[in-house]
Symmetry: C2
Amino acid sequence: MENNKPLILISNDDGVISKGISALIRFLRPLGDIVVMAPDAPRSGVGCGVSINEPVMFQMIRKDVGLSVYKCSGTPVDCIKLAFYTVLDRQPDIIIGGINHGDNSSVNVHYSGTMGAVIEGAIRGIPSVAFSLCDHDADADFDPAGPYIRDIVEKVLERGLPLNTCLNVNFPNVKELKGVRICEQAKGIWINEWESFAHRGDSQFFWMAGEYKNTDPENENSDRWALENGYVAITPTLVDMTARELMNDLKSWF
Amino acid sequence: MENNKPLILISNDDGVISKGISALIRFLRPLGDIVVMAPDAPRSGVGCGVSINEPVMFQMIRKDVGLSVYKCSGTPVDCIKLAFYTVLDRQPDIIIGGINHGDNSSVNVHYSGTMGAVIEGAIRGIPSVAFSLCDHDADADFDPAGPYIRDIVEKVLERGLPLNTCLNVNFPNVKELKGVRICEQAKGIWINEWESFAHRGDSQFFWMAGEYKNTDPENENSDRWALENGYVAITPTLVDMTARELMNDLKSWF
């Protein structure tokens, strides 16, 4: 008997045992068959990084009706690539990243491993969506996001997304969400990024720290504005980073 | 006496002792003062990844007139962020990544640590340029690229780049370059990405391998087309990945 349920491939960057990915599985199980391939440990901040200089491995850790869960020693992008090469027996209908513990709006799209998994999905031609909650707490409350996540995934399964495009969906850390806003990526930068300390007195080590600074706070179309005002921010995101508006000007340089 | 020479910050992902970064330093020394902060070991494929889960450190390894070289235990993006926090005594006039041993055109922009350094530069508002040669050989010949690199860096120093934009410059592996083409990012995908092997017989390990497949080979505006036809490919690249054309359509979904 053929299985006509949608196939949903899930990864994240907080690791396979995070609360966020468990919540995502719980929200999406009614919608289709689920395969999870996610890092065996936290891999936040690895962006679209891949493992070139060491081998990766994976292992099944859970098998249930319509649900297979694998842990992988690689990055989120490795997880997606390896799932296609090993455990998937058909093309997934959708690839989902998250739910991330922490904000992936604005320039964080570049640093986020969860967005890495989703950009990889878009490169492969699969409709792909990342979900993130603006709360780093390991015990963050993902429940308010649940109905929105189901609704967005159902819509993407039904309507698809243009090739080489994915969705970056961020939730503010509030109990009462005000609804959805379709946004553009806010301009911003991280400041005060390092904390230094001496180790054994002979050298300086630096831990990444820092605060995000919105350099475009008046822009009501930005994802940061939406989040700061209680809305779910959906930022459609391109694989193609070409600065087309600059091309003609640059041609005149040569 | 104040120093009015341009300040050039350099990083890469092949590591501070690679031939490509040495060639870059040699080509650019006549143009300004140079600070190098580059990984202490190869970090290819780490994209915009940052080190969140471990501390990083750096160390000076060379000091000369107008040239300081530091090695850093982190990623290329860490290198840029740490240079700003520690060793730079003024804003750099330009940030350069490379010269990368290997092609960073098309979708490789997402995986490349060299492009990561340059995207970080653009996020920080500094004109930033990545240079890559389509030759992975550790002893690749970077000399044909030299005059182009100097010309491009001189032009960017003189004219700047729009905020949140950087240049991704790729050189074909040929002796006689045919000139410059201003390009858009080619559509493509990696296939046959893994080689598996058993280790001690008890598990499967996977090494990343694969071949790049251009899925848009007829597009004469693409960076891949330029490279395959002997041209230097300059792809202007945006920090802002918003899919603006999709925004109105998405608004009708909710």
